[in-house]
Subunit: 358 residues, 2 copies
DNA sequence: CTGTTAGCGCATTCAA
DNA sequence: TTGAATGCGCTAACAG
């Protein structure tokens, strides 16, 4: 057998790896299987047009060499990476962690990797950082989390680069891209009906910032559901918060400063974090929860379970929404039919903050 | 001027980009600046041996073309990516979010990108997933978060691939790699001294899992500090938890079942999450906090501020630790001197859960 | 069904 | 101080 002048690695004519340091390539696999690199490439990428016999040989060689395609080479040659980016400037750790968990799972299933572009709400050069990323490598796609979902400059940027994207719960221009939503309105209706059955008639609502789609929807659903039960919105105390703990506490102080006969029997916050603020002020004021005033949240974030009393709330599985978003992102088969939209069910979770027996 | 038969892009002899779709390359920049690609490469990588004049021309061309080096090509050619991986199976969203925030900041400063390998504690094929990553691309480095920091199989894997790594608060084999720690012991001593000054003499401690370095250190510091104040460890109630909310609640039930005269005036939990469990059980039992029993946590995680009463605790800035870890990881200048070690200061945060005036 | 050739964009010889 | 040539590992064209 003549010596094939290919490269030192192949100096013995067959695929004998000289060193543990050298990672096997398509070429190595091909040499071992007795086929060309191109054929191995076909097998690796699941292309059609390879005989079963050949495929088996190649698979065996891949296995034997523990071959793994080089990401950089693939990305360079085919101008498509296997990187899915999560773009985030949402400061809530629970929310982000759940998104990461869901996307991560799907990435692993599909042989992709996850990159995280993390910003604080104060960052003002978000678009620039993202530009750096998308100019440096062709992303498999991007998942956008609120409130960054509604940043027109970033949407423009991604569109200009033709990066596939899915937005989670976008507030504006919802039909512009693929998107995933939760059925917030359904949740509010379930919650209100439950409270009504418990006998509550004097409601206070602490709304979220009107800039968020979710808070507008939740507020509309609250007033709608109450009206449907014969409770006039005019009799409902409505306070405005901004989804933070402190704003929930502040709203509660305002509520407690009202004439005593107007005091509600139930305070519904538009998210759990504000509800935690509500409970802390009630506790500090010596008001029994739920005995004197009951409290509800929304989201079923971790804190709903950790505070005392634990919160009755609406669970929306962010993990599942994120999984759905990632699958949508990676499935390009139906994009041509226009923006796609997934709506996720929610669920009422009843805990002690509305219990009758405390 | 003759037509240079280089590629369609250069068909006009000078660097005129034919289409917005085509990203500029080193070659384009060089053509515009009137130098070879090799020279541009030198400038981009900050190599020496380029005249000031040339460098200026090149910089101008880079600016004009908004050139950004192609990550994939760089990674392929030089077998080094600009990807920093965070390896995590810690379920605490606050903690992970802080790590991400710190690492993210440093990555952005240094032109790197961040990839997140996220696992649940239940995942049993962590090593396999990480192998897939490190076999696919040469990472710039990896940052390991507990409890994954102490997984020998993963350390072996990364070492075998010669991936630079920094571990955060490793429990075992601490000198094996670069590492970042917090001065937990200092924090405990500050805390105990403060409680002693408030008049507390009957202590209960809810420890963390002995598998964690942090809980062993914290427990040793508690008994040490108490002893130093003349309080015999034999008179201290010690319960074992596992850092979860539920284990804190459970430990508290055991404490409350003790004869009344043994009841402590203060329960110190080894982390905030267990402290939240402690407070919930005390609340459910009608015991005033801090009036009858005070409570402290450790970590100053978000929940410390969100529960009622808010927790006196020890703040360790995870963001800063993560930043330090990332800088350590990316600075390879001093690795040859053996494993490096950074210790981060902590700080006592006094809140209502130990206040005297409630 | 399979192989040959070429080149993605960059960094690294080596030569000038 | 600069440039020409080469190839990293892979996949797209194009043959056979």
């Amino acid at each position: 057998m003549t010596i094939a002048p290919v490269s030192p690695k192949y100096a013995w004519g067959v695929s004998i790896r000289m060193s543990k340091e050298t990672k096997p390539t398509l070429h190595d696999v091909g040499a071992l299987a007795g086929v060309a690199a191109r054929t191995v490439s076909r097998v690796v990428n699941g292309e059609t047009g390879v005989s079963v016999k050949t495929r088996e040989k190649v698979d065996k060689a891949i296995e034997a060499l523990k071959f793994r395609p080089n990401l950089a080479a693939r990305a360079l040659r085919s101008d498509r990476s296997f990187l899915v980016a999560i773009l985030n400037n949402n400061p809530s750790p629970h929310y982000v962690a759940d998104v990461v968990r869901g996307v991560s799972r799907v990435c692993r299933e599909t042989g992709n990797f996850l990159t995280l572009e993390e910003f604080t709400p104060a960052d003002n050069n978000i678009a620039e950082s993202i530009a750096e990323l998308v100019d440096s490598i062709r992303l498999a796609g991007a998942i956008l989390i609120p409130p960054l979902t509604d940043d027109a400059a970033i949407l423009d940027l991604l569109e200009a680069h033709e990066i596939p994207m899915v937005r989670m719960s976008p507030a504006s221009d919802a039909a512009r891209t693929d998107a995933v939503f939760a059925r917030d309105g359904d949740g509010v209706r379930q919650l209100v009906n439950h409270l009504y059955q418990l006998g509550h008639r004097r409601f206070a609502i602490v709304g979220g910032p009107s800039s968020h789609r979710s808070s507008r929807i939740r507020m509309a659903a609250f007033t709608g559901a109450l009206t449907a039960l014969g409770i006039s919105p005019a009799t409902v105390i409505i306070e405005q918060g901004d989804y933070t703990y402190d704003s929930g506490a502040e709203a509660t102080r305002r509520i407690l400063s009202l004439p005593h006969k107007m005091r509600p029997s139930i305070i519904c916050a538009a998210n759990d974090e504000m509800a935690a603020g509500v409970i802390s002020v009630l506790g500090a004021s010596g008001i029994a929860v739920p005995g004197e005033i009951a409290v509800t949240g929304f989201d079923d974030s971790e804190i709903a379970r950790l505070i005392w009393p634990p919160l009755t709330t609406i669970r929306q599985s962010i993990v599942e929404q994120a999984e759905a978003a990632a699958r949508l992102l990676l499935d390009r088969s139906s994009v041509k039919d226009g923006p796609r939209r997934i709506e996720q069910e929610v669920e009422l979770v009843i805990r002690k903050s509305t219990s009758r027996d405390i």
